[in-house]
């Protein structure tokens, strides 16, 4: 498929464990975004990558959250010492450049028990 893919589609973990969420953007898209969607907060921006750099990390909620992007392609969002309030759908989007249309993946549904 030519769209944005994310894995895993669902993740159940225990409080205190670390999790890694993966995003494969559309080939050739230089801009990549992570968002979080939860019942209480709606859809919130987390971090923006242009290439392998992250000029805007302002949405990361705490230092337990980090993200990296390698080769200008795949990105990984890592949550350390997960808490129950981290339960949400984590969405990734990519665009051909920073101001163009964003295409969203199907998301990873994270449940922290």
């Amino acid at each position: 498929g030519a769209g944005v893919s994310q894995s895993p589609s669902n993740k159940v973990t225990e409080k205190g464990k670390d999790v890694e969420l993966r995003c494969d953007p559309i080939s050739g898209h230089t801009a990549l975004y992570w968002y979080r969607q939860s019942l209480g907060q709606g859809l919130e921006f987390l971090i923006y990558f242009q290439g392998n750099s992250a000029p805007d990390k302002s949405g990361l909620p705490s230092d337990r959250f980090s993200a990296e992007r390698t080769g200008g392609s795949v990105s990984t969002l890592t949550i350390q010492r997960t808490q129950q309030e981290d339960s949400a759908v984590y969405l990734c989007a990519s665009s051909s450049s920073g101001m163009e249309t964003q295409y969203f993946g199907p998301g990873t549904r994270l449940l922290v028990l």
């Binding site: 944005v4 975004y33 859809l43 242009q50 989007a93 969203f104 998301g107």
Partner: protein, 110 residues
């Protein structure tokens, strides 16, 4: 902090009825976008409005952008069950970062 207020939060109507969803911003964004999201999927872009006073039509959907570029509306004519879903407005800021409204859950009953 830029905020987007979307209303109503829930809308339940019968097939054939018309509806309007509103999106109001506390400040001006470079553009305002409307998305539709279905369960288990990511949001899909419906339209982008940029110019104050702009009106765009997409089949039975009409999108308006206020003159001051702070408010927008989505009007659906003769709603169909296939229109059921979550509708989101979003303002684009620096780097294309999106600020979303709370969303409107639309249910159209046959």
């Amino acid at each position: 902090t830029q905020l987007l207020e979307q209303s109503p939060q829930f809308l339940s109507i019968q097939e054939g009825e018309n509806l309007t969803v509103y999106c109001n911003s506390s400040s001006v964004f470079s553009s305002l976008q409307w998305y539709r999201q279905e369960p288990g999927e990511g949001p899909v872009l419906l339209v982008t409005v940029v110019t104050g006073g702009e009106v765009k039509k997409l089949k039975r959907l009409t999108f308006q952008f206020g003159d001051a570029r702070k408010d927008s509306s989505l009007h659906i004519t003769a709603a169909q069950p296939g229109d059921t879903g979550l509708y989101l407005c979003a303002g684009a800021g620096s780097y294309g970062k999106l600020t979303f409204g709370q969303g409107t859950i639309l249910t159209v009953h046959p």
